[in-house]
């Protein structure tokens, strides 16, 4: 289910930490990165991998916003909706970006499964409002040029 690289990352954390439970957050992050979701199958898998009850894995998974039950696109664009970015009209930016990427109203992911656009809380880059992230990179301010660059990837 995971790449050998992903498995190694989880194994390394587990080896370094006092118990398997301590590698759970890392396992969830790796799984989300590689599978773009942590649904029932992934939960069973992680539970087996770490020797934990699936209930525990699911309970932790559903606590964190970046771990999603349903699949996201290959790339995630996070548009900051925090107070500073909101005042610089980031909700409209998110709307425009969805338009560029052909994401329907009320949806988050483009029909080709390439991009998910998500409004999130403050991402700690408020001096680049309206701030945004393309996967793990900060790409704010999300002006028209930034939006073009994203949608042309």
């Amino acid at each position: 289910m995971l790449t050998s690289e992903g498995l190694e990352e989880i194994e390394a954390t587990r080896a370094e930490e006092p118990s398997a439970r301590h590698a759970l957050l890392t396992a969830l992050r790796v799984t989300q990165r590689e599978r773009h979701k942590v649904g029932p199958e992934e939960i069973e898998y992680i539970a087996g991998l770490l020797g934990l009850s699936p209930a525990i894995v699911e309970g932790v998974a559903r606590f964190y916003d970046q771990i999603t039950a349903s699949p996201t696109g290959q790339h995630i664009v996070r548009v900051c909706g925090g107070i500073t970015c909101y005042l610089s009209q980031s909700d409209r930016v998110a709307q425009d970006l969805k338009g560029f990427l052909g994401i329907a109203d009320g949806e988050e992911t483009s029909p080709d499964g390439e991009f998910t656009v998500r409004l999130v809380e403050c991402i700690g880059d408020c001096d680049h409002a309206p701030a945004g992230m393309l996967d793990d990179r900060f790409v704010g301010p999300l002006d028209e040029r930034a939006l073009r660059t994203i949608s042309e990837r």
Binding site: L25, I67, Y86, L87, I123, G124, D136
Partner: protein, 454 residues
Amino acid sequence: MADFLTRHTKDPAQKKLDTARGRGAYEGFRRALAMSRQEVVAEIDASGLRGRGGAGFPTGRKWSFIHAKEGQSVYLLCNADESEPGTFKDHHLMTFDPHLVLEGVAVGAYAIGAHRAYIYLRGEYASIAETLAAALREATAAGIIGQSCLGSGYDLSVGLQLGAGAYICGEETGLIQSLEGKRAYPRVRPPFPAVHGFLREPTVVNNVETLACAARIMAEGAEAFARLGTRQSAGTKLISVSGAVERPGVYEVEMGYPLMQFLSHEAGGISGGRRLKAIIPGGTSVPVLTAEEAAPLTIDYESMLSAGTMLGSGGMIVFGDGTSMPHALLRIAEFYAHESCGECTPCREGTGWMAWVLRRLLAGEGRPGDLGLLLRVGDNIEGRTICGLGDASVQPVRSFIRKFRQEFEALAPLPVAFPAWQLHGHGPRTGRFGPPVEEAAQSQPVEGPPDYVL
């Protein structure tokens, strides 16, 4: 502008160990290692350093609470969760001077007798974690961190952990829970982390900036730090300023620096030539200041306290005139409703209610008495929760309504046939950025502020 912490952050080469060491990196740690633990704690205590994560608790005192019994392990946790809206100073520090942060972690760990430390970063800071990991590899290869640090016989290993998207992981016991692979439900205190922390062992949680200060203090001596700032606020503070200013960014100022001077000089003035309307000085969890209230203040703990607010994280959010304060407050209230972990009832329910009532006010469906209701819900949260998020959520609501009352009253008693709100029942779960699903069909969508400033 001061440069106690940010002396070298403008040079991209500072990330490299060689460059950083050429400028004295890890000399503070070396000096600490030559002293006893107690002496290091005393030095930090003498410097007057107070925690930069928000609460301003004296760092030396916090470290002195650690008394490990035979067979106990001690842990130092560096709080790099930085999720307080408007705060991005740790982001800056870790990106541009990762070795200073690592040195701070090493100094703190040595001072409390920890042989294992963790840096816990919010999930969005994955790229910063890579910067730190690279710095850590260099420092380990150079024998600075690891077995017998700098040949002293003291062992230290440092782990990096990324979160996965939850504000509450910044709260110290939430952080501990998350690090243990659990839901980040904060713990009831006492027992405090100094007694029962990570793995139920004695633990100190410190902010990134606090530890960076500690490293510099060990390098330059307590006196160099204590000389800066004011009597109750020694040293410098990183201020991350955003919103309606010409030059948003991270600036280091000496404590006691005049707020208005900071806004005009460092931050470049209010954007678009507008007038200042309000400032939140330390992240959304502290009360807002009107322009008049802010005018005479200086950037330090006591000045902010005298005006009924707090320096907090130093996350300064500036509002220019024309900003709709009710809209701004709704966005802030939604943040707390979304980020409440749900462990205790007053916060879980109350934050949702505050956002919900604000939303109906802004949708033109307010009821007479709604402002009073908001304040009452706040009163019922404050002081009745497990962690500080509950109290934090009340500060903006209370201060915005009291200080910008007319704007709220203009919304308040509307003669509207409102839909069937169930005042005594459970309100619908608040949607993230829009009205609750059930409500959406019945109410007008909330529009953005009528007059944007930025």
